[in-house]
């Protein structure tokens, strides 16, 4: 199969399927991932192809799901865990933070933890409480974890595969709002770009706009809108949130002199802060304005009929661009 067009959700399905065909140590664990194919249908068809030993509908207990996957990894398996929604990762927080992240180090490298934790993340889907969270900063702070955040079908496929191949644990934040947005995928052509690298997806000169995952289309849309006003934004897709690819971001900021970061998570304590701090330090003499951030407010994610006001949107990003350029 060569290049094909798939929605993001199906690109991940394809990534999972190909990984499972390539390595019979890969297995999937989660709630409703079997016969149902997951509430987002990401594992659709895999149970019928691989059976219930490899596509495991688990009891409803996230700590148990992640904790058993640690044991499976010690035994040589490569578990891919689905957390049903971003807001339900917290019961597994202990296992992720104190076990998944640290087991390799604890054993002085003897044991690997090639576990992938898939988390549909982000808001904007009109959902009830706990279904729209963006907790990436809560994982990025913990050494031992890696985080990937694909924003398009191509990355969704390949990051799924590369996360599974990685000997370290990887949290895969899947942009749930965009699961059904299509894009080209070429499963035969291993990408040259490392999954741990950011990508300049639109060159520009006036300022750099950094985003990831579900916020990428907004970033591009903003750049297009700004271009109509004669402002050329360089748009970067961070892609890897742990590690962050600082060289690519810093190189861009050194060219443009300005950086705006947008993400759905609350600005306060979000990953944007870490990036802003680091870039402010690395690019001090190049910055013509402070690094700015447009993101969620320091509030619990609001009810669906308020979320449009909570989430960054075109107007808010452009407002940020204006403030950035006014400096």
């Amino acid at each position: 199969m060569s290049s094909t067009t798939l929605p993001i959700a199906k690109a991940i399905t394809a990534g999972l399927r190909d990984a499972m065909r390539a390595d019979d140590k890969v297995l999937l664990m989660g709630e409703d991932i079997g016969v149902l194919g997951g509430v987002f249908r990401v594992t659709d068809g895999l149970h019928s192809e691989f059976g219930s030993q490899r596509v495991v509908d688990t009891p409803l207990a996230e700590a148990g799901i992640v904790g058993t996957s640690v044991g499976l990894a010690v035994r040589g398996y490569r578990p891919v865990v689905e957390i049903q929604f971003d807001g339900f990762v917290f019961p597994a927080f202990n296992q992720i933070t104190t076990q998944v992240a640290k087991m390799h180090n604890r054993t002085n490298g003897a044991v690997h933890m090639p576990i992938v934790i898939r988390i549909p993340h982000g808001g904007g889907i009109g959902a009830i409480e706990h279904h729209s969270e963006s907790p990436e900063a809560l994982f990025a702070h913990t050494a031992g974890l890696r985080i990937l955040a694909p924003s398009n079908a191509h990355d969704a496929y390949w990051m799924t595969r590369q996360a599974i191949e990685c000997e370290d644990p990887v949290i895969l934040f899947e942009p749930k709002k965009r699961y059904w947005v299509k894009g080209d995928v070429d499963p035969d052509q291993r990408p040259e770009l490392s999954p741990w690298q950011a990508e300049v997806v639109r060159p520009g000169t006036d300022a750099t706009l950094l985003a990831w995952g579900p916020s990428m289309p907004l970033a591009i849309e903003s750049a297009e809108a700004a271009a109509e006003d004669g402002i050329e934004l360089e748009v970067i897709d961070a892609r890897s949130l742990a590690p962050i690819d600082y060289p690519t971001i810093a190189a861009s900021v050194k060219r443009t002199g300005r950086l705006l970061i947008t993400h759905e998570a609350p600005v306060l304590g979000g990953l944007g802060g870490e990036i802003a701090a680091r870039i402010s330090e690395e690019c001090f003499y190049h910055l013509e304005a402070p690094v700015m951030r447009v993101g969620g407010y320091h509030l619990p994610y609001p009810p669906a009929r308020m979320e449009h006001a909570y989430l960054p949107d075109l107007d808010r990003v452009l407002d940020g661009v204006d403030r950035l350029l006014e400096h």
Partner: protein, 397 residues
């Protein structure tokens, strides 16, 4: 499995629970014809509200609906088993519980519509908010019960004030570690709490057999917490078992656990497609055990129900559904400014500053907004995002 009404409506005797139904001597007969008709009416009403909510969701008025169809007896029975002063701790599918507690159905719809995350005062309504993170409410229930112990309203023998907690969770949620920890705390402190599971056979697509290979009722016995398994489609059995458990808890005898065996007749939520994982024959099988029908047959056997009463119930139910319809259709979207109000109880400089920023930001658009709808001064939304929302078909809750 305890059953007081067989599927054909026949009352079957029970060595302990008959006394509970009879009011334990001093109290009202819980199975008086009037009460029985009351339960019937309640179940009819809540089913109508539930169906209306599903249709409201189809009309785009709700983001999601989690139907409790088929679980009416379990919920109405458990709800009426509690006393005024008791505190109930629901999941997100306890519409019958809420009804029995006197909570107006439209209040339940707020969170499904997306105008609040719950929004009622738990202490005023003596009912915890609907809870989404499965199992997380169970320790709250135990903590509340520990508060009751410290308030001296347990085991005093005073019927009007002795209080207990009813903690609800599903068969799926029973696997969450926090539920087990709740058993531990409740047992250790002999807290006045009754755990109540509606084993509706499914946790979305996962059958109860994945959560436990033995009857779920057995779970709590690992902590020495007495338990009972009842027919959850039998309103009297549920009522009696829960009343008995709550009475014991109020009397200071510690926790109990009750498993009500029932069935989730609808899909998990309006986003779910149950045909993907269960045969419709299963639904038909359970339809034959319908809890409303069962009580009606029983009332017929007693000669205590007539066509007129049935018709009046149906009419009232229809009216309720219409009210709900109008209430929801008439509901205005909340001012997003409200999201800044209740993050903290005390002043918080960051939230205040962000609120100010938001107001300033909004004000820009108001100034520009000469040719826009005056009511809608918020900025234009990201059109793409809207589209994706419609496109994505994931389930929620």
């Amino acid at each position: 499995m305890v059953q007081l009404l067989s599927p054909d409506g026949t009352r079957t005797p029970h060595p302990e629970l008959d006394a509970v139904i009879a009011g334990n001597g001093g109290e009202d007969d819980l199975a008086s014809p009037e009460r029985l008709r009351g339960y019937y009416r309640d179940m009819v009403m809540i089913r109508a509200a539930d169906l209306e909510a599903t249709s409201l969701q189809r009309q785009g008025q709700l983001g999601l609906w989690a139907s409790a169809l088929g679980q009416e007896a379990a919920q109405i029975g458990a709800g009426h088993a509690s006393r005024e002063q008791d505190y109930l701790v629901p999941t997100y599918r306890e519409h019958g519980i809420a009804w029995a507690r006197g909570i107006e159905p439209w209040r339940l719809l707020e969170s499904f519509r997306g105008v609040s995350h719950g929004g009622w005062d738990p202490n005023a309504l003596r009912t915890h908010p609907y809870m989404i993170v499965l199992g997380s409410q169970a320790p709250h229930a135990v903590g509340y019960a520990m508060g009751l112990q410290r308030d001296g309203v347990v085991g005093t023998g005073k019927k009007e004030t002795d209080t207990a907690v009813l903690a609800l969770f599903g068969d799926g949620a029973s696997s969450e570690g926090e539920v087990s920890e709740s058993f531990t705390f409740a047992a250790s402190f002999q807290a006045p709490v009754v755990f109540f599971t509606q084993n509706n056979q499914w946790a979305i697509s996962v059958p109860t057999s994945v959560q436990t290979r033995v009857p779920l009722a057995q779970r709590s016995r690992g902590w020495g917490i007495p338990s009972v398994r009842v027919d959850g489609n039998d309103v009297l059995a549920v009522l009696a078992a829960v009343r008995d458990g709550l009475d014991a808890a109020r009397a200071g005898e510690g926790p109990r656990f009750i498993e009500a065996v029932t069935y989730r007749m609808a899909a998990h939520t309006t986003s779910d497609d149950a045909s993907r994982y269960r045969p419709s024959s299963e639904e038909e099988e359970w339809a034959a055990k319908d809890p409303i029908l069962r009580l009606r047959r029983h009332l017929e056997q007693l000669g205590e129900i007539d066509e007129e009463f049935v018709a009046r119930c149906d009419e009232e139910a229809h009216d309720l559904a219409m009210q709900l319809h109008h209430h929801i259709h008439g509901m205005e979207d909340p001012d997003p400014l409200g999201m800044f109000t209740h993050a903290y109880a005390e002043p918080h400089p960051i939230v205040e500053a962000e609120r100010e920023q938001y107001l300033e930001y909004i004000a820009q658009f108001e100034d520009e907004g000469g040719d826009e709808n005056a009511d809608d001064a918020t900025p234009s939304r990201d059109q793409n995002a809207e589209q994706d929302t419609a496109e994505q078909n994931g389930e929620r809750a």
